[in-house]
């Protein structure tokens, strides 16, 4: 990959790699507990370590604790970091979604007080967007915020709130005016998760892990100073969080194509090993091609950024292909293991847990169907789906 860096970028990549090579083993030596209970402390410690070394939020202005460089350096660092086993997850909402919104809409005092605490690993943030009745159709949310002097009184139910149980703060989308059409009456806030009236319940997923939550808000008082963007402008503000989301979700953690190669190489068959079997080869070749294609699509997007442009919605193709690939690859790997493929984590590679999680990949961050719609409408110029509710006051729906 270094092949395509400019000399300065190659130099930066080498620095990042050199730091990771000494920092990651040191981190593992001092954080041996990998249980779910230790996860928060591990994630915070790793974030703090990056912050102290100057590698946290490389594209964030130095005044807010970042590196003051461009997003190109940030992506180079992420790419190098992805080659190592490091804690990931709890800071994605904070660094990937919250900071861009704060930079665009918060006042100076809020930026100075909030952003450095994310980058330094002090505060985990969560996202309070989706609701039981508003997933892909996010603008259908019902959580109400009613003005009460200098505060807003918020009541409603949110769902799929990743790491909300660990979060100090959250970004929150509410409805402030139900007499307007659904996209127009929304307002965006940030909220202290310790506020009275907030209750977070874990949701256990198919793979047994409970990183998601449902969050109940019962007359939670949110100061008006926590509002981001104008009253009624919440939809536009929420789109800011999605700007960099495409770079966050396009490669899933889990078994890789090379893991499937390794398995095939050591799986015996009647006349040799699975790696020589035509059907296995066809599958491996397809997944290798897809992995490579996704990687180079990201590199092309990076080039667009590097040339001063902004990658468009076509970048989401990576997630569309990557999520399905993960599902198929894990299922096929389990078949290669014969009936012992039924045993959870028969190998350290985790094809079983990958398979159990993989349906989530096709839903999270835009379902396959939504992504296809986005590509068809915004890239290929096909008509938008018929929408019966866009111009109707929300209260009348």
């Amino acid at each position: 990959m270094n092949l395509f860096d400019s000399p300065e970028e190659a130099k930066f990549r080498a620095e990042a790699k050199a730091w990771l090579e000494q920092a990651v083993p040191a981190f593992h030596a001092s954080h041996v507990d990998r249980s779910e209970g230790a996860m928060e402390e591990r994630a915070k410690a790793w974030q703090r370590q990056k912050f102290e070394a100057g590698f946290a939020g490389l594209h964030i202005p130095a005044a807010y604790g970042g590196g003051g460089l461009s997003f190109v350096e940030e992506l180079i660092f992420r790419h190098e970091q992805a080659q190592f086993d490091t804690p990931r997850g709890p800071f994605i909402i904070g660094t990937g979604m919250t900071i861009p919104v704060l930079l665009a809409y918060a006042d100076e005092a809020a930026k100075v007080s909030l952003i450095p605490k994310i980058l330094s690993g002090e505060e985990i943030w969560c996202q309070l967007f989706s609701e039981p009745g508003a997933g892909s159709d996010l603008a259908a949310i019902r959580t109400r915020a009613v003005r009460d002097g200098d505060n807003w009184c918020v009541t409603g139910q949110k769902v799929w709130n990743t790491y909300a149980h660990l979060a100090s703060r959250g970004i929150l989308l509410t409805r402030t005016d139900p007499t307007l059409p659904k996209h127009k009456g929304l307002t965006f806030f940030h909220v202290d998760m310790k506020s009275p009236g907030i209750k977070v319940n874990p949701i256990r997923m198919v793979n047994g892990v409970a990183e998601f939550n449902e969050t109940f808000l019962d007359e939670v008082m949110v100061p008006d100073t926590n509002r981001l963007g104008a009253e009624g402008d919440g939809w536009r503000v929420s789109l800011t969080t999605l700007k960099y989301e495409r770079f966050e979700i396009s490669e899933f953690p889990g078994p890789t194509t090379i893991d499937a190669f390794r398995l095939a190489m050591k799986t015996p068959t009647a006349n040799g090993s699975a790696i020589d079997d035509g059907l296995v080869q066809e599958r491996l070749a397809r997944w290798y091609t897809e992995s490579a294609g996704i990687k180079y699509m990201q590199l092309r997007a990076l080039t667009v950024l590097s040339r001063g442009g902004e990658p468009g919605p076509e970048t989401s193709v990576g997630k569309l292909i990557g999520a399905r690939k993960m599902q198929e690859l894990c299922a096929f790997a389990m078949e290669m293991q014969s009936h012992s493929g039924l045993i959870v984590d028969a190998t350290a590679t985790g094809f079983q847990s990958g398979w159990l999680w993989s349906p989530g990949g096709r839903v999270a961050g835009g379902t396959d169907e939504i992504i296809r719609n986005v590509i068809a409408e915004r890239v290929l110029g096909l008509p938008q789906d018929a929408r019966a509710d866009t111009d109707v006051p929300f209260a009348q729906l």
Partner: protein, 388 residues
Amino acid sequence: LKRHIENRFWRCLRVDFAFTNDHEALRDQTRRFLDDSGGLTQARRVLDGHEAYSAKQWHGLAEMGLLGITLPEAFGGLGISPLFMCVVAEELGRVCAPIPIESSIFFVAETVSRCGSNKQRAKLLPSFADGTNIATWIVGGSRLPTGPHDISLCYGTNGLSGTADVVVDGSTASLGLTLARDSSGRVSTLLVELDSPKVTVTRLVSVDPSRPIARISFENAPFELIGREGDGWDTWTAALDRAAIYTSFTQIGGAQASMEMARDYVLQRTTFGRVLGSYQAVKHRLADIFAKIELARGTSLYAAKLIESHECDLTAAAASARIAASAAYNFAATENIQLHGGIGVTWEAEPNLHYRRARHAALCLGARQWPGRLVRAVAARVAAKELA
């Protein structure tokens, strides 16, 4: 033109994984030329048997210097980055250009340029670059060889003998690059004049008549060696990888054109009171075509960048490019007909030109052996890493 392109090209290297403005300028120039020369109607003319190949496109490209983009300047080429050839290839793919560029340029001229002696290069490359000499590659039998043990053409002191059942451009080429073995089993690549009385050429009927195919028999035909005797298999596989990479760009161009043709059609066709393109079943199909094309663009550009940086081990990258590009073009061309409905199945309508060409492109350098080539190349790397 050449100096200008080169200077600007080397100056604009940043994270540089995309075509640059200079590449895009050449793309525009090529597209204008192809549109002026009649676009898809040239493929139609050849399909209908009016010509064996489009002389207008072939000689026009030669005049613009585009056949010799990657060939050395000293031998009549431009000697500039292979990425320029890739954008030209993509444009040719868009209009199913019925010309022997894969055979003559991507395969044979590239091989002569890399492996030929200076004398051979001086003699042949200028005639490839100016389009006066058309060449093709030839293997014996009816299947592509699976290994150096699987070569059926034989050469010796008497000349070259045997039959090649399928030779793309065999009826239009005057020169062949063949893969043959001698009595001791040594495999070599040889150049053979096809106008010789010792060579019999029989035209065959292909599913894509816009690209002629012939059977060629040799009976003690005279030949000369290209590269060292015994190096034939390596020369051949290296040539195959490079030709597959360039061809993947013609496939991408064809896939993109098929997708655009389908998109334009579903935007104007109405059923049940609404535009066909407003149905999700149709929108999602087009999105899937787009996704496959994007994959192919990524893998092919990476492979082309490896050629540009003089990387030798191209097999895994070439195989990924070929697998992705074949999948994209086959899918796009097939679904383009489906989205056109009945009219798409007619001879007169345009979709069948791409449907045929997608098959031609997927088969002419072999189809089924590529997953195996890819897997063996990657598995060898994985094994080496595990040992280390």
